[in-house]
Subunit: 321 residues, 2 copies
């Protein structure tokens, strides 16, 4: 028996892996494991994988010290019945009650919430948002997602779908987005679009101007992704710097709109691309500040999330703690 | 003595006039008057005008039947101390406690709220929003404002400034807005911009193509304003129709972004330009529906506010009722 302290189990369900951890009441993770999601096998198999991961991580702990299990999931979590609806990249999944079987298996309270909302909660309670009562949390990664924290609580929206900031349009006549919308910020700076655009730009350059990035991708421009663009920028590549600055400016335009509508001033940015160099944050801040309504200008803050990849597990456990 | 029923007084403070009414508990206005705001004379004079208007309208009623006084005002109403901050077009006004002197004068509860929020409340309790728990209220007039109704209550934001939807940008690289931002929806379809743009377009047309609108403005294109554009459209003027349709499409782009972020599906549109012909609403709806995230598409509704100019008085009184 490893601990006498009470704890919660946090489950971060992704399309590839399920990361499950033991989270102490102070937000620290004392144990965690990762198992395959098997998201192509349908809901019963995925739920079985979640149960398996919980059993594994609980191995060394007493179930009576477990205050409950929280699950962070892609897709919309219904405000009415708690079902998980249409998580992208999960096969045969329309609307599924994820909690029932898990509750039966462990006889502790089980909660479920959208993964971006979980990460927002984690940053609010234990991370970069801890000193702010109200803030917008942004996930900048494969897609652009978000969570809205008002008075230290999640704003979930009437159906649990609030915070879809990736599908705020920054150009009514702009690029077509996968969602069917036009000019969504995600379709400019989401991982795939950013990588694709960077590749296109570098392809047009003379070989001397491509030297830094070509070295980073071993000559294969198809390997360009945000972490490579960041590295190139840090090595002084002017094209990479300008691409990331522009991405920051575009994100700033979307953020200013949201701050105006919601009367917010603080933005916490997480997700894979949030590891970008500091000058990207300066570009975002400068863009937000020049676009937001005057009463907000002095108070605007754009800060980096502090919990990294652990935000999912910690946030899921926060549903319990 | 005109009535034995209890009532509230609603005050709609504008930069030109103060409209003050007796509002019954069912939301109907049984008496109302309008006095000058004297907004160029500074806060003490404006407050005196409000008191005067209340005394006048109360003349025939018993003060003991008055449950309270509600005031709708431009500017931000602070969530912390209730002061009214920076109402546009009011001289020498930074942050003013409007309620104190009024409370002293009448010895009833006095409440104050932003005017767009008041109109949103009015439509929620007594108007077009009555059947919807959650909706976005839009004022489409001189500027573009709004109010957010969640679970039949106002979402005011941390500082009381939420709902500034006119300053959501629909083009990160678009027109400069008076607010200092770029591409704000207000700078495309607010009254002044819409009128100016319409004038510019008609100026380039051959005289035969200008016949309808020239007749409506007695040959003076400077007189173009939205009500004229609407009339021209109703008379079949193809240019006026296309301008209004485009305005609806642009508004729809902004609305889709907001519905996505806030997880809302219903929009109620008030303000002067909301009297536009039905095809404008069709353009808005079609634009929203084609841009909003899939789960919202079936449920999207765009409807006309039903209380017209009375929404201000009724909403202010709703703060009491």
């Amino acid at each position: 028996m490893k601990s006498k302290k009470s704890f919660a189990v946090g489950v971060d369900l992704g399309a590839t892996n399920i990361k499950t951890g033991i989270v102490e009441v102070n937000g620290s993770i004392s144990d965690q494991i990762s198992v395959e999601s098997k998201s192509d096998k349908g809901p019963p198999v995925v739920i079985q994988q979640i149960i398996f991961s919980i059993q594994e991580v609980l191995g060394k702990y007493k179930l009576r010290d477990c205050k409950g299990i929280g699950i962070g999931t892609p897709g919309v979590v219904s405000s009415t019945d708690g079902t998980v609806q249409h998580p992208p990249n999960f096969a045969n999944w329309s609307s599924v009650d994820v909690t029932k079987k898990i509750r039966q298996s462990f006889s502790v309270p089980v909660y479920v919430e959208n993964d971006a909302n979980c990460a927002a909660l984690a940053e609010s309670r234990f991370g970069a948002g801890i000193e702010f009562k109200d803030f917008l949390f942004v996930i900048w990664g494969t897609g652009i997602g978000g969570g809205i924290i008002i008075n230290r609580k999640l704003y979930r929206g009437p159906n649990g779908g609030a915070g879809e900031i990736g599908h705020l349009s920054i150009d009514y006549d702009g690029a077509a987005c996968n969602c069917g919308g036009i000019g969504c910020i995600e379709s400019y700076i989401g991982q795939r679009y950013l990588s694709q655009r960077t590749k296109e730009i570098f392809t047009t350059l003379r070989s001397g101007e491509r030297a830094i990035i070509e070295k980073l991708v071993d000559g294969n421009l198809d390997k360009i992704e945000p972490v490579i663009i960041s590295k190139a920028a840090e090595l002084g590549d002017p094209t990479a710097i300008s691409i990331l600055k522009e991405a920051g400016t575009l994100l700033g335009s979307a953020l200013a709109s949201i701050l105006n509508v919601l009367d917010l001033e603080v933005v916490v940015i997480g997700g894979g691309i949030s590891a970008a160099p500091g000058f990207v944050y300066e570009a975002i801040l400068s863009s937000v500040r020049s676009r937001v309504l005057k009463p907000h200008r002095a108070g605007v803050k754009v800060i980096r999330a502090s919990l990294g990849n652990n935000a999912g597990i910690i946030g899921a456990a926060s549903l319990v703690l």
